[in-house]
């Protein structure tokens, strides 16, 4: 699928997790522009400066966790499309992320087709 020019913010403190997510997006689509953040503070700053079309965000991160960053981004832009990607998927955290406005929750380790579905659903029709 061609998503030329779409900006995707990938925010995870693990350089490997960011690489694997970007590799998965590149496998199922082409043309995306990636922006990388490694903690919640960077996610908020990068969102404000880059206005990405889609955000993938981990929950457990140093400095500022994913749910706090999620809430700050939604406050700035209520239309932000944020997908939580985390290995820590307790019912409480999932509920909180959805309440805060996350569009979806992907449990690590993710499958390529999960990323494909997200890309098609969130960037396909735009």
């Amino acid at each position: 699928m061609n998503i030329s020019g779409k900006k995707i913010l990938v925010c995870d403190d693990s350089v490997l997790a960011r690489k694997q997510l970007m590799d998965a997006v590149k496998e199922v689509s082409e043309g995306a522009v990636f922006i990388e953040g490694k903690n919640g503070s960077e996610a908020v700053d990068l969102y404000k400066s880059e206005k990405p079309d889609l955000v993938f965000m981990d929950i457990v991160m140093p400095e500022k966790d994913g749910n706090t960053a999620l809430s700050e981004i939604k406050e700035f832009d209520n239309e932000a499309v944020i997908i939580i990607v985390s290995s820590v998927g307790t019912q409480d955290q999932l509920k909180k992320a959805i309440q805060l406005g996350a569009k979806d929750f992907i449990q690590k380790p993710f499958e390529k087709n999960q990323i494909q579905e997200i890309i098609e659903l969130r960037l396909g029709g735009k």
Binding site: D13, S14, L16, A17, P62, T90, Q91, K108, P109
Partner: protein, 293 residues
């Protein structure tokens, strides 16, 4: 997981060396069970009878089952039943070690008998692995007085072995846990878990082992010790601990949380009480999973 536990049992008793064990484990996926091995496991034939049939088979062009029926060791129905049985991997491990000349069928028969007695588990038949049986083995062999048999501790270790099988590979053997006041770090990643009790979990290994571990985990070939290798260890620990806290929060009302993983290149690990080192040997090196509390 019984294969890993049997591997540990054989190592502890000096029945096999680590090299012999890894060689036999590495062929598990390509090995097919032999009728004689499964007949011993099911108690339908003795090792001597199996050896006798194998000897005859080496001289006559007949199937093992035919020979066993001719000699009155098995009935046709028993042969058909045995052929349709699913065989757990730990029996295959035993068969591979017999084929490698590490021990004989007679030894295997005795080892399996002793193993079942020592584990007090008489039904290791497991096409589906029995969770209670696994918990019992973990409680008996891997939990030490300092880290008592509590449901969450058993759950943590069970998940740890499962995470290794799922994300790194099943060809490992857990070694004997060691209780330490402190642990000198080689290289590793630490992550704190906060619940009713606070724990620090840590994964530690030398750099060569880390490269091999990371390559398997990420399913990529890493050639040198770089940021991706370090991140793979962080991810593994974070993923495993993440699964653990999901299980705990689903099963109990405990509030439990995880701190971000931290890279530790040197220093000493210690807890308010003790550290327990759970070493796990892979063919590429030994990983130490340490829990301080």
């Amino acid at each position: 997981m019984y294969t890993q536990f049997l591997g540990n049992y054989l190592l502890q008793r000096g029945i096999v060396t680590q090299d012999q064990l890894f060689e036999a484990m590495s062929r598990l996926s390509q090995t097919h069970i032999k009728l004689g091995t499964i007949a011993i496991k099911e108690g339908l034939m003795t090792a001597k009878e199996v050896d006798e049939c194998l000897y005859v088979q080496s001289r006559e062009d007949k199937r093992f089952g035919e020979i066993a029926i001719e000699r009155g060791y098995l009935t046709e129905d028993q042969v058909n039943d045995l052929l349709s049985m699913q065989t757990p991997d730990y029996i295959l491990l035993g068969q591979n070690l017999v084929e490698d000349g590490v021990f004989s069928y007679e030894d295997l028969e005795r080892i399996l008998f002793d193993y079942r007695n020592d584990t007090e588990l008489y039904d290791l038949s497991l096409d589906v692995e029995n969770q209670d049986a696994i918990a019992a083995i973990i409680s008996k062999f891997f939990l030490v007085a300092e880290m008592p048999v509590e449901p969450t501790n058993v759950m943590y270790l069970e998940l740890m072995f499962n995470s290794l099988i799922r994300f790194v590979g099943e060809d490992f053997s857990p070694l004997t846990p060691m209780v330490l006041d402190e642990y000198p770090i080689t290289f590793g990643v630490s992550q704190a878990i906060s619940s009713e009790r606070d724990y620090v979990t840590h994964i530690d290994c030398d750099r060569e082992t880390a490269i091999a571990f990371a390559s398997r985990y990420a399913n990529e070939e890493f050639a040198e010790f770089d940021e991706y290798v370090i991140a793979a260890l962080e991810d593994f620990l974070n993923l495993h601990n993440g699964l653990f806290i999901v299980n705990v929060s689903n099963d109990t009302s405990q509030t439990i949380s995880l701190a971000p993983p931290e890279i530790t290149m040197e220093g000493v690990l210690s807890g308010p009480n003790k550290c327990v080192d759970f070493p796990v040997a892979y063919p590429f090196g030994t990983i130490h999973l340490i829990i301080c509390f």
